[in-house]
């Protein structure tokens, strides 16, 4: 399987995600934001970090970069496109995903482990996954998901909600919401479920010596689904 990771000035989880992809068997290429062409890919990833310093609005300037037109084309033709953290913010700024990620509720950067419940497994990302609650890591300042009432309704009707903040047992409750996201949303899909945006960083959880191993589960499963 071929993956491509787009590198923007200020991306800083690009190496981490590349390592994770390779560890679980993807062939990966790093694509510079000023490139115009996307190589043939089975998966494209917009990595975490602070593209353009997170200035103006997180992801806003990356969404105007040269490469982004090819990324949009790729996604519109059904390609798998995943945005993690800053990548998720870029996806909403390009309108590939609905809504927006606001400043965290208590106006604080949060770096910690959280539990998320997988809300929809009928897609290439989570089909066949062995757990329905994952222990993942978040590290962000703007992860407070917000969208209009209409958009929310539409997402719910289309089953577009991917991940929800919850407790160990999968109970979704405002108590376990780290950043104020509407409905505890930690990740969402596009209508066709080929685009996934999520705040947690599975790439930081790929070894027992790191924050945990549920990221491994995610990547192994993703690769199997694509085979």
């Amino acid at each position: 399987m071929n993956s491509s990771v787009i590198v923007f000035p200020g991306s800083n989880c690009d190496r981490d995600i590349a390592i994770a992809l390779r560890k679980f068997g993807f062939k990966n290429k790093m694509i510079w934001h000023e490139d115009v062409e996307l190589p043939k890919s089975d998966l494209v990833v917009l990595p975490g970090g602070f593209s353009y310093g997170d200035y103006l609005r997180c992801g806003s300037m990356a969404s105007k970069s040269k490469i982004i037109q090819s990324v949009i084309k790729f996604a519109n033709s059904g390609g798998l496109l995943m945005g993690i953290c800053n990548g998720f913010q870029i996806l909403t700024e390009t309108s590939l995903l609905p809504g927006v990620l606001l400043r965290n509720k208590f106006s604080k950067f949060i770096c910690k482990n959280v539990f998320v419940k997988i809300n929809n497994i009928e897609n290439n990302y989570f089909k066949n996954i062995k757990k329905n609650v994952l222990n993942l890591h978040i590290a962000h300042n703007e992860g407070n998901y917000f969208c209009s009432g209409e958009q929310m309704k539409e997402m719910q009707e289309n089953n577009q909600i991917a991940l929800l903040y919850c407790d160990e047992k999968g109970e979704v409750n405002e108590k376990y919401n780290p950043n104020g996201s509407s409905k505890n949303i930690a990740g969402i899909f596009s209508r066709k479920k080929n685009i996934l945006g999520m705040m947690p960083h599975p790439e930081r959880m790929i070894e027992k010596y790191l924050s945990g191993e549920d990221g491994s589960l995610f990547f192994e499963n993703l690769l199997n689904n694509l085979k």
């Binding site: 000035p9 200020g10 800083n12 989880c13 190496r15 981490d16 390592i19 994770a20 975490g48 970090g49 602070f50 353009y52 310093g53 997170d54 200035y55 208590f106 604080k108 950067f109 949060i110 770096c111 910690k112 890591h137 590290a139 300042n141 960083h201 790439e203 930081r204 790929i206 010596y209 790191l210 924050s211």
Partner: protein
């Protein structure tokens, strides 16, 4: 404008210093030249009060590749890998503008590290604030934490540790010390010494603005009522540009285009250009018309003294300009050839085509003043005869709870959760433990790091305090299973022109030096920050030690979280119940007199090395050094980290429980051992003449001491974690 003595004095120079400058030059300097002298001769750049004392520090060792004198120190960690690290203060700016002050502090120290060719792999910080009752404290703390996080998180370097204290002596002078650790290939280290003449001098990074002019002289002065007027000297940090600068520099460093490289830190273009030339015994010619400026009409004086951030000065090999330019353009950074090296041994500055300044380099560096300031010896205080009746009304559990929720002991999670501590995917020990640990990417090796200071001990007796902080740093390395390698130190003191402060400095340094020598824990870099004083009120002496340790195999790392029920916890090291200067004495009894706990370097070394060998043999399931708060606080921290309880043995003999449980005797560790291994471990300890005793047995839940304590982990956890949250969020 012709320069007068008054102008020189306004620049922070002393009368006799100005006279000396005129003597050296055999004329009066012009204003640009005066700017150069004032920048290079101030305390911050010249180390004029500290130089003669810093020479005492042990700075060499088998693993030391580069000691003090470069942008950062370098130590060997085998297989052609080396660690570059340094700590630096940004105290004065942070008090004036906490966000930007702290942010640019982090930015500055990272540049010191990647200047040497190293990719930063971890950040730490040591921050000290005034009393929690002080009105300013909360906003200062919030601003500083936001600034440190804002900068470090953006660049994508994990912040893996730090230290936060509150004490009213910092009411008017907070301390912000930032440390960075970088990884470099041993044969790819870059230095600041320029060599060769007629080599192009390159300016890269952000444009030069009027920010921060006189920052270095601000750091060389006490605060007074006019503090407001000094404000314009605060710089604004741009972490985004720093990230680009980091990537661009590392890209250029892959071949041998660079002869010498130096970040523009304090005193900007002045100190960077002069240092390069001085180390190479060369001259340097600068054409300021070529310097990329943000504002029009900047004068040579302003350009030379600007402390705009995110800039570097590079001496390139001839013919490499085009290649270098391409790289910096790719990263959207300014690039300009602004001068060349010469054999004149002078700095020559041109502006508008005319020579604007000319000073022999030597006058600015080697001939800078050096003072042997008067200092007063500080006697070891007598033991405080605390009336034992004071203990009678106290309950052990209440005292424990009070200490766990006191500002200086409570959990600092509120702070470190705001720092990205896992980015780069190699953090194997997060903040909250004895030391942060990151793996050396792609290998089995790992590096541990911690920052330590003990202002109360140093205040009570600087010599002992100086030893103690080195020992504590050493213990923190051992506690994560790392071999202590070397340290960097940030020496935060008051006004050196006062004998008492200078005495504190000299004796702390003597203590540091003795301990480092004994423990074979050399000092490879550091920074001095004097004049932490407002309206005559100085801070307690606060030297900060940034320690580095090495793990050959990261899988052998230990942590302080208890692992399993029914294991034995041993106290290693002797408990005598030293109460003076302990948190029990100062916070609970409100007794501030007496000496700090004594340091026995022999025991320190012997205990530490024995514990480390037990760790390496795999016997130690968890370990924590015993520091502020004593045994009971230490064991509680282990319980909270592992979510496991303990049944504590009653101490034998006629000991006073308060002294036993809350005394702060040094050189101690708590280690968790499986019952199967206990005899073996005891025999190793005995063989090495290490004092130990059985402290308790782990159990499923609750911390229990018969007749005195029976409390759940959850309750203690809540007490420990909520204090800072409540303080900051309400």
């Amino acid at each position: 404008m012709s320069v007068t003595e008054k102008i020189a004095i306004d620049h922070g120079l002393k009368k006799n210093e100005f006279k000396e400058i005129c003597n050296l030059l055999k004329r009066t300097p012009n204003i640009t030249e005066l700017g150069l002298f004032s920048a290079m001769w101030n305390e911050h750049c010249s180390y004029k009060s500290s130089k003669i004392h810093l020479k005492k520090l042990p700075t060499t060792g088998k693993k030391v590749i580069q000691g003090p004198g470069e942008n950062a120190g370098v130590v060997d960690i085998e297989d052609n890998d080396a660690i570059v690290f340094k700590i630096e203060s940004h105290n004065h700016p942070s008090f004036i503008e906490p966000y930007q002050g702290a942010a640019t502090g982090v930015g500055g120290i990272m540049r010191d590290v990647f200047t040497m060719g190293a990719r930063p792999i971890a950040n730490l910080n040591s921050i000290h604030f005034g009393s929690t009752q002080n009105k300013k404290t909360k906003n200062l703390l919030r601003g500083v934490v936001n600034g440190i996080g804002g900068y470090g998180n953006c660049i994508g370097i994990p912040t893996i540790g730090g230290q936060t204290t509150f004490d009213e002596s910092y009411n008017g002078n907070i301390l912000v010390n930032a440390m960075t650790i970088g990884l470099v290939k041993k044969d790819k280290i870059f230095y600041s010494k320029a060599t060769g003449i007629n080599k192009p001098v390159i300016y890269v990074g952000s444009k030069t603005g009027r920010d921060g002019i006189h920052g270095a002289s601000m750091a060389s002065n006490v605060f007074d009522d006019q503090i407001e007027e000094k404000k314009p000297t605060v710089q604004v940090g741009d972490p985004f540009t720093e990230k680009l600068l980091l990537e661009a520099c590392l890209e250029l460093m892959t071949d041998d285009s660079i002869i010498s490289i130096q970040d523009m830190g304090a005193a900007g273009l002045t100190s960077s250009s002069i240092e390069m030339a001085s180390k190479g015994k060369l001259g340097i010619e600068l054409n300021l018309d070529k310097v990329p400026c943000r504002e029009s009409n900047m004068t040579p004086y302003e350009i030379m003294l600007s402390e705009s951030q995110e800039r570097m000065l590079i001496v390139l090999e001839n013919g490499k300009e085009e290649k270098a330019k391409k790289i910096f353009e790719k990263w959207n950074l300014d690039f300009a050839v602004i001068g060349k090296t010469t054999n004149s041994k002078k700095i020559e500055i041109y502006f508008n085509g005319i020579k604007n300044a000319e000073v022999p380099i030597e006058f600015l560096s080697d001939k800078s003043p050096e003072y042997d300031r008067k200092w007063k010896k500080i006697k070891l205080p007598n033991k405080n005869k605390i009336n034992k009746d004071l203990y009678k009304n106290l309950k052990i559990l209440d005292v424990l709870k009070k200490i766990l929720s006191s500002p200086n002991v409570c959990s600092k999670e509120w702070i470190w959760e705001q720092y990205d501590h896992t980015v780069m995917g190699d953090t194997i020990q997060k903040p909250g433990g004895d030391a942060g640990v990151v793996r050396v990417h792609g290998t089995n090796k790992a590096v541990a790091a911690a920052v330590d200071s003990s202002a109360n001990y140093c205040f009570a007796h600087p010599l002992t305090g100086g030893k103690q902080i080195v020992c504590e740093s050493w213990r923190n390395m051992i506690s994560v299973g790392a071999k202590p390698l070397a340290i960097t130190n940030c020496l935060n003191f008051g006004n050196p022109e006062k004998e008492k402060n200078m005495g504190e400095f000299v004796e702390c340094l003597t203590g540091i030096s003795e301990a480092c020598k004994y423990l074979n824990y050399p000092v490879v870099s550091g920074n001095v920050s004097f004049y932490n004083e407002t309206k005559d009120k100085g801070i307690k002496p606060t030297p900060t030690i940034g320690g580095i340790g090495f793990l050959k195999d990261y899988k052998k790392m230990t942590s302080m979280s208890l692992k399993k029920n029914d294991n034995i916890v041993l106290v290693v090291g002797k408990t005598e119940g030293h109460i003076d200067q302990s948190i029990f004495a100062t916070e609970i009894l409100n007794e501030k007199k007496g000496p700090p706990p004594e340091i026995n370097l022999f025991n320190e070394k012997n205990n530490g090395e024995t514990v480390l060998s037990l760790i390496n043999e795999g016997y130690v399931k968890s370990v924590h050094d015993v520091s502020v708060g004593g045994l009971l606080v230490a064991v509680t921290q282990m319980c909270l980290a592992g979510n496991i309880g303990i049944k504590i043995n009653k101490p034998k003999g006629l000991v006073n429980f308060f002294e036993y449980f809350f005394g702060e005797d040094q050189g101690r560790y708590l280690i968790e051992i499986e019952k199967n291994d206990i005899n073996k471990v005891k025999s190793v300890l005995q063989k090495n003449s290490v004092y130990f005793s059985e402290f308790g047995t782990t159990q499923e839940k609750n911390v229990v001491l018969k007749d005195e304590i029976n409390v759940t982990i959850d309750e203690l956890m809540k007490i420990n974690k909520t204090w800072l949250n409540n303080y900051m969020d309400n």
